[in-house]
Amino acid sequence: MDKKRFAKISSFRYAIMAVVLILLAGGLVILPKYEKNEGISADQLLSNIISLERYVSADDISNKLITQDPSFILIDVRDKESYGKYTLPNAINIPLKNLLDKEFEAYLNQDQYDVVFFSNDNFYADQAWAICNRLSYANLHVLKGGLNGWFTTIINPEKPSENMPASAFELYNTRKAASMFFGVVYPDQAKINTVVKRAPKKIITVKKKKRVAEGGC
């Protein structure tokens, strides 16, 4: 009896398999679709965003620029016009809206250099950082305070008041020296320059006199 029933069922085995196949394939069509995560997971991204490790201070960047550190790339995420007016030395312009263009991928998706984003503030730079971080690109940083921070700390450092500690004065001197490297001329320094210019003139006149005397002999 059991054998007969088994034979009866097994004569339908191909039909059963076909139905199973159709059901499985149909299941793929029917299953609710969801948007898949691209790049790193949401939790990871959130914890990366909360972390302040991405920020690099303007002092660090100026030090790297002065020592000609070859290990990093500066990326200006402002638009082309602002980039044309002023930018950091050797910065590459990748406007935020063109961040994911194919031509710029080689700069961002690599593990050779540290990438430092900056904009006027760190706002747009942070956005660029978040987008690239989500795509799990490596070695991304943001210039803390952006170009405004750059101006207030390096280009135009605030003079410490007299009751501040010596370290504040040292920092001020370092920043002042750095700003001079980037082309800022201070009034006291400018005076020195004019003095230096006068000196050779005097020497030249002295030399002329000597020559005249020699000719007389």
Binding site: Y14, I22, A25, L28
Partner: protein, 196 residues
């Protein structure tokens, strides 16, 4: 397997040994399902045995459904899988030559080696012919090269290039498979039986 190798769970110098093990398993399955017989292989073209069609179609459908379920559940990323590159004219001409060889000799390259292993003389002749073909191709490579490496379309799939919905494509593909099986069975019953 790629996952295990890429994460150095299995060192890369085990590659060849793994390949040999997979090859032995594959050959065993081919032989035990009768695929080392050229009559069975050619049967699909004469209509008396559709085992080849059924096996390959079933394999493709089962694999694609399985992969897309794994993708849906997040175990496999379909976008990360290797897709064989397409060289249009190379594929068309090579496919035609392969098809003629298949009908004429009754073997495909894999099953012919199976036939060689169990000592079939037609398989020996077939493999000899295959090596002659390889020799001619290698000698005339510079002549064939423009076709061999030209007309490159990249690693494309039907789903990407036509913008089809993959799930519907799979569903329709499995329907086609089942219709093909039914039709094949119908044809086989009509054709006079061949014993081999």
């Amino acid at each position: 397997m790629e996952f295990l190798i890429a994460n150095t769970i299995i060192p890369t110098h085990w590659d060849s040994i793994i390949a040999i093990c997979i090859g032995i398993a594959f050959g065993f399955v081919l032989e035990s399902s009768g695929f080392s017989s050229s009559r069975k292989m050619a049967g699909v073209f004469y209509g008396y045995d559709f085992a080849v069609l059924k096996v390959f179609f079933t394999a493709a459908v089962v694999a694609v459904i399985g992969i897309y379920y794994l993708d849906y559940l997040g175990y496999v990323d379909v976008g990360e899988l290797y897709i064989h590159p397409t060289y249009v004219w190379g594929a068309i001409i090579g496919g035609a030559i392969m098809g003629v060889g298949f009908i004429a000799g009754g073997f495909c390259p894999g099953t012919s080696l199976c036939g060689v292993a169990i000592g079939k003389i037609d398989a020996w002749v077939y493999v000899l012919g295959m090596f002659i073909g390889i020799f001619i191709f290698s000698e005339l490579y510079s002549f064939f090269e423009p076709i061999y490496t030209g007309y490159f379309l990249g690693n494309i799939t039907l789903i990407d290039s036509f913008g089809w919905n993959p799930y519907w494509t799979i569903f329709i593909f499995s329907l086609i498979a089942i219709v093909a099986f039914v039709v094949a069975d119908f044809v086989r019953k009509k054709i006079k039986k061949v014993f081999y």
